[in-house]
């Protein structure tokens, strides 16, 4: 780049050229050509460099993202699988349709949760300000398993976490065993447009449901790590 700048400086005296100096135009033209050529070379180099740099790190980034995605989402998969097992158990044993629709709602909630977490995993880029945000989100205990929030600015973020705190509070204080408590929470959650029903809440609801089915809660033992 320093060469290009030097060339620009050299051009200056040429600007105050004698009107009768026939060579001036030509040398100016040559200089301009030279400069354009070198600019082009820098650009070409830049493009080649981007390609080469990408080629080296793409797979590495892929592997890293793959691991993160798999490790986070497997928990949601396990919860979904467990609920599906309960659902098939209910179908086999002719359980009440109320319980079956309850399981279906919980399955939807897990799917929604999963989608939300995935969107946020994708939007995380390895930049310092994201890490800062990540910390602040973890501090607010916004939701489990969501590492960061990038696309939404901090103001929105705060509102979102307020809604969520409220939402989680409502859900956890509602008496367990009440048939409609989870439906209310579900509605609240849709109302506030916060797209992540908390995983803890879904787990609590699942535990309640298991009790209602007359199955020991130990069946959820393998979900402990959630």
């Amino acid at each position: 780049m320093s060469w290009v700048q030097a060339a620009t400086l050299i051009q200056r005296p040429g600007d105050e050229r004698d009107v009768f100096d026939e060579e001036a135009d030509e040398s100016l033209l040559v200089q301009r050509e030279w400069r354009n050529h070198m600019h082009r070379r820098v650009k070409e180099g830049y493009r080649d460099g981007v390609d080469a740099g990408k080629a080296v790190t793409l797979q590495q980034g892929f592997n890293q993202g793959y691991k993160e995605g798999a490790e986070v989402i497997i928990n949601y998969g396990q919860l979904r699988g467990t609920l599906s097992a309960l659902l098939s158990w209910c179908h086999l044993h002719d359980n009440s349709s109320a319980l079956i629709s309850k399981i279906n709602n919980l399955l939807d909630a897990v799917g929604q949760c999963e989608e939300y977490v995935l969107q946020h995993l994708k939007s995380v880029t390895p930049q310092p300000h994201v890490v800062d945000l990540l910390d602040s989100i973890q501090d607010t205990d916004l939701c489990h398993g969501v590492p960061a929030e990038k696309t939404i600015d901090e103001a929105t973020d705060e509102r979102l976490s307020e809604n969520n705190a409220e939402f989680n509070k409502n859900c956890s204080t509602s008496p367990s065993g009440t048939d409609y408590s989870y439906l209310e929470c579900y509605r609240t959650q849709q109302h506030t447009h916060s797209e992540n029903p908390s995983l803890t809440w879904i787990l609590e609801q699942t535990a309640t449901l298991v009790k209602q089915l007359g199955i020991p809660v130990d069946i959820l033992q393998h979900l402990k790590q959630l």
Partner: protein
């Protein structure tokens, strides 16, 4: 003479030099872009596998418990298939995209899962994530 020779060399080399300067800048930017882009793709694919494997795992564990504690029937056939599926899932390195038998093992797990479902006489609908199919570039 030496001076003009240097100048001549410098002009010839300039081409390479400018290209090299651009290249270095581009390389740094490209490396950054590569990690970000790769990560985005990787996350999707990893999540897809994690979601599917997690589902099988949760399903298998829950059914194992149900068969153990909630039925009087001692169906050893069901239990055997269930244990086999759990064993396969536990050995499966679901978070490693470089695992060379990934597709092979995944197909075996899917097959075992189908077998289990038909033995249990259930048809679960997992709504497994559909986007993306390949596992690397």
């Amino acid at each position: 003479m030496a001076g003009s020779q240097d100048m001549f060399d410098a002009i010839v080399m300039a081409d390479e030099r400018f290209h090299g300067e651009g290249f270095q800048e581009g390389y740094v930017e490209g490396s950054r872009l590569g990690v970000t882009e790769g990560r985005q793709h990787g996350t999707l694919h990893g999540a897809k596998i994690g979601s599917e494997i997690g589902c099988y795992q949760g399903f298998a564990f829950a059914w194992k418990y149900l068969l153990h504690s909630c039925t009087t029937e001692k169906d050893s056939k069901k239990m055997k298939v269930l244990e086999a599926l759990i064993g396969m899932i536990e050995k499966f390195p679901y978070d490693d995209p470089t695992y060379d038998r990934l597709h092979e093992d995944l197909d075996r797990i899917r097959g075992k899962f189908k077998q289990l479902c038909s033995l249990l006489n259930v048809q679960p609908d997992f709504k497994i994530r559909a986007e993306g199919s390949g596992l690397s570039f």
